[in-house]
């Protein structure tokens, strides 16, 4: 059994524990009834996604300073997992919004900024695929990773400052009942562990892909042929 198999097993087990708490331990919400149970994973996924993008920011800054291929691989891995988690957040949020707000989507500050976040990092992944692999892709992506993270709080706050008519924060404004709080905290911890596991696995995949000699680079129209990247 490799390290990754054990990690994955632990992550799956932990998510099952979280699921058991969500469905069997946490009390049903008085107003929102069953759909409220989406809340636990929805918010946890959002927090885990933010953590991933913070890792992208840190790794991007580290890459620009040191040009370390490991920092670049970490940024790649965390960006992919972050986009997946943001997708989960948006998807579960829509399922949650339909029964509670009556619509899948509103132009709420939080929804809009999350969508922008998703678009920025989806663009990051696309840039990684289209830029010439190696130093150029890593540098360009690092710049996008830094600007993307700077942009998100701005989008978030700039929209809240004005569109105050949006429905109040969905997250805890008053203290949750202890059972709900415990369920939420456990789910969040499990989701963060899952995210960490996914990043670790993806990091390993990126390492292996870097080690495989890339096929002869195809020169796109307009781009000058370049020297092959030195082996790392």
């Amino acid at each position: 059994m490799t390290r990754y198999t054990r990690l994955t097993g632990a992550a799956v087990l932990l998510m099952l524990v979280a699921g058991a708490l969500i469905f069997f331990y946490a009390p049903e919400d008085f107003l929102q009834k069953e759909p409220q149970r989406i809340f636990y994973l929805h918010v946890s996924a959002a927090i885990a996604a933010f953590a991933c993008f913070a890792v992208v920011l840190g790794a991007s800054v580290a890459y620009l300073r040191t040009e370390s291929p490991r920092a670049d691989r970490l940024a790649r891995a965390a960006a992919l997992v972050g986009v997946v988690l943001t997708t989960v957040t948006l998807g579960m949020g829509m399922l949650y919004a339909k029964p509670i707000w009556g619509a899948f989507w509103t132009w709420d500050a939080r929804l809009t900024s999350t969508l922008v976040l998703w678009i920025i990092y989806a663009g990051y992944l696309l840039l990684r695929r289209l830029a010439e692999p190696g130093r150029q892709a890593a540098r360009f992506a690092a710049v996008v990773g830094i600007f993307g993270f700077v942009d998100v709080p701005i989008v978030y706050f700039s929209v809240t400052w004005w569109r105050t008519q949006h429905p109040g924060p969905v997250i805890v404004t008053n203290a949750l009942p202890p059972e709900m709080l415990l369920t939420f905290l456990v789910t969040m911890a499990c989701t963060l562990f899952l995210a960490g596991t996914l990043v670790a696995i993806r990091y390993q995949i990126e390492t292996l892909m870097d080690e495989v000699p890339s096929p002869a680079p195809s020169h796109p129209v307009g781009a000058a042929p370049r020297e092959p990247e030195p082996a790392r």
């Binding site: 663009g123 840039l127 289209l130 690092a142 600007f147 993307g148 700039s158 004005w162 796109p220 781009a223």
Partner: protein, 221 residues
Amino acid sequence: MNRSVAVAVAVARKDLTSEWRTRELVPALGQFVVLALVIANFGFQIDSQNAPVIAPGVLWLALVFAGLVAFGRAFAAEREQASLEAMLLTPAPAAAIFAGKAMAAALLLIACEAVLLPALALMFGTPLNVPLVAAVLIATVGMAALGCLFAAMVARVRSREVLLPLLTLPLWIPFIVAGGQAVQVAMGATGNYNQAVALLIDFDILFVVLTSLAARFVLDD
């Protein structure tokens, strides 16, 4: 410092001279924004009642897409003639070269705004006043810095036409949020104009500083 400014001005002058001699981009951009107004007319069924409500949105849509075209072209000539490499071989700092390119692109976009804003006022019956022009010009500064940074980046990447809007538009959203508010107020809506413009200036400072720090990594190879 003085030398950097001189380099930036020289690069900007080179770009503007080349545009003046060919007259390629600005007339095309002018036609583009007028076409955008025509399309908005058919898309929205504009009449005297709803025109003032729709006009700010039309302004930003036209401006944003004209901006993408302008910045996408900023590095086209350099790419076609591989002249960027020649510039980078000189001892001039990369940030200064980048600032020059951004200044020239911003001035071309301002030329396009000089068509867009009067056309909007004429065809939509909205006011054309100093607060409106000021808000758009202030937003142009930061948008130019960001747009040029990503234009420099995608100039060396496959599918650059697709990638430039994908990278640039999400990062322009702060300018559209604050600029949209400022333009709405300037056109007669209620709201806080000063706060919106102050925020635009904050974004300008933030992104000009960040792009000048990042320019080295995007231009150098």
